[in-house]
């Protein structure tokens, strides 16, 4: 249990740091591009590709983090009337649904990743390989499944 908790926290911290770094790069890059363009007419070439890539990485890691933080948007009407046992069961149901779906999406995404990797598809401005985007998506799905598997159960489950 101790190791699971340590691993979960370590993974969450890593995801937070990387996602925040990519979001900051997107923010600073966009602001810098505007400033350079407006002051010395020197836009940053390919900033659209960079910002796009950063947002995909940040979003996919954020999706994994939202699973472990139980921050995905849910309708919790049932919490008002449901017994602790029912809520615990629903928490397990959500985790199972995520644990089944995320690897499945990862597997489907892998096929797309292989295709763009084989064809060597790239972004139009900077030529960033599209496979990198798909890799970020695969990592996001994979981390979601791992975090769902190892994260400690919700309080409702522990209480029940």
């Amino acid at each position: 249990m101790q190791f699971r908790l340590w691993l979960t926290q370590a993974l969450e911290r890593l995801c937070h740091v990387i996602a925040a770094a990519f979001l900051l790069v997107a923010l600073i890059g966009t602001v810098l591009d505007v400033c350079l363009r407006k002051t010395i007419d020197l836009p940053i070439r390919g900033i659209i590709d960079v910002v796009g890539f950063c947002i995909v990485v940040s979003t996919m890691l954020g999706i994994a983090l939202a699973w472990s933080a139980r921050a995905h948007i849910v309708v919790d009407l049932i919490d008002m009337t449901g017994s602790p046992r029912l809520l615990a069961f629903l928490d397990v149901l959500t985790r199972v649904a995520g644990i089944v779906t995320m690897p499945l999406l990862m597997w489907l995404g892998y096929r797309e990743f292989s295709d763009v990797y084989d064809f060597g598809d790239r972004t139009s401005d900077l030529g960033i390989p599209l496979a990198w985007f798909w890799l970020a998506i695969l990592v996001g799905y994979g981390l979601s499944a791992v975090l769902l598997l190892i994260a400690p159960p919700a309080r409702a489950v522990r209480d029940a």
């Binding site: 996602a19 900051l24 966009t30 796009g52 979003t59 921050a71 049932i78 798909w134």
Partner: protein
Amino acid sequence: MPEASPAVITAVATAVMFALILLRIPIGLALGLAGFFGYGWLDGWGRATTMLTAVPAELISGAYSFSVIPMFILMGAAAAHSGLSAELFNIAKAVARPGARGTLATATIGACGLFGAICGSSVATAATMGRIAVPEMRQAGYSAEFATGAVAAGGTLGILIPPSVILVIYALLAEQSVPVLFAAAMLPGFAMAMMCIMVAKLYVLVRPEAGPPSRIVYARGERWRIVLRAWKVFAIFLLSIGGLYAGWFSPTEAAAIGAAMTILVGVFDRRLGTKEILASIQETTIVSASLFFIFLGALMYGRFIALTRIPYDLTQWVASLGLSAQMVALAIVGIYLLLGCFLESVSMVLITVPVFLPLLQSMGYDAVWFGILLVVAVEMGLVTPPVGMNLFVIRAQNKDVSLPRIAFGALPFLSAQVVMILILVYWPRFTSLLPDLMGMATAR
């Protein structure tokens, strides 16, 4: 799977989706699963799998356009963490007439409107203002219902007054221009703020004990000094949103400039340290990711709905009924009120726009008008139980006030939203006044 008509498959898939949502399955996953099974049932599992595989490709191809969402969320999160809300509340109090009944409530609504100009989220606006305004109002002897209801209603201004995250999501979904939608929302947003203030005034006329006169006394010239402190908020709004209209920035750039300015103002005011900036970024990552997750699920569900041709059939069926456009628009608002009882705002938009937008466009309404109507309808959902998100946020901050009491307090303010709905339905040009004045085209 047994053969069935598209209507039956749609009904079953939608029922499954709602059942999953009510079972606390994340909305994005419920939408994606319902869309996948519906698509598979209708067109074969091979094609459904291909569609599901291709959904993230939309995120990749539109990543730059989508980046406007986290940037605006970061702007709001930084504003919330930097304590700008307290200053805005002081400014609104200085503007409101001291000594009159209900002044603190009207100041709260005004401050919510100002905060909405730098924060695109209702829940964030309600949470941030609630933390400051409710304790002060209650300390001044306001009834708990009135104090919490004013914040719940004022909070809804956050998604109508630009920048609005939900309008950005709608713009991406309906392929509309973000600047045009923001311009269209400005007049209704201002009018809504004014109507909410009027409701607060009427509230204290009917129940004077609910909002006693404020005992704040200002020294000569002090009110103006406080009001002038609002320059920072206006500077952020003018540079980011003004720059958007001046043609200096794209929506993503405007949002990034707004977020950067908000962080810089917070840092220079010594209200934002490294800890607060990191907290704002972490909050942004998770909130925007959970929105994108719903967006991805809704894309799958939207493709299934497009395959069923339900929007087309619905348009034909409604046309055959011979109803007036206004009747149809009001019926759709009714459906939103019903949905608002158990769905949160983004999901409501993502599920319904692919169905209702073609119908309303076929009746002569334009997509920009529908975006504004949608936001006002969604606003009502935010303050109506049982899933009024603003009510929950305020309840979490005020444990001694029950949810029904907060909802009861917010009830009178619903009249402002009802009036706005009627204005929009019977005078659709209200939304195009400002875009027309600014020389923007509102496409049908």
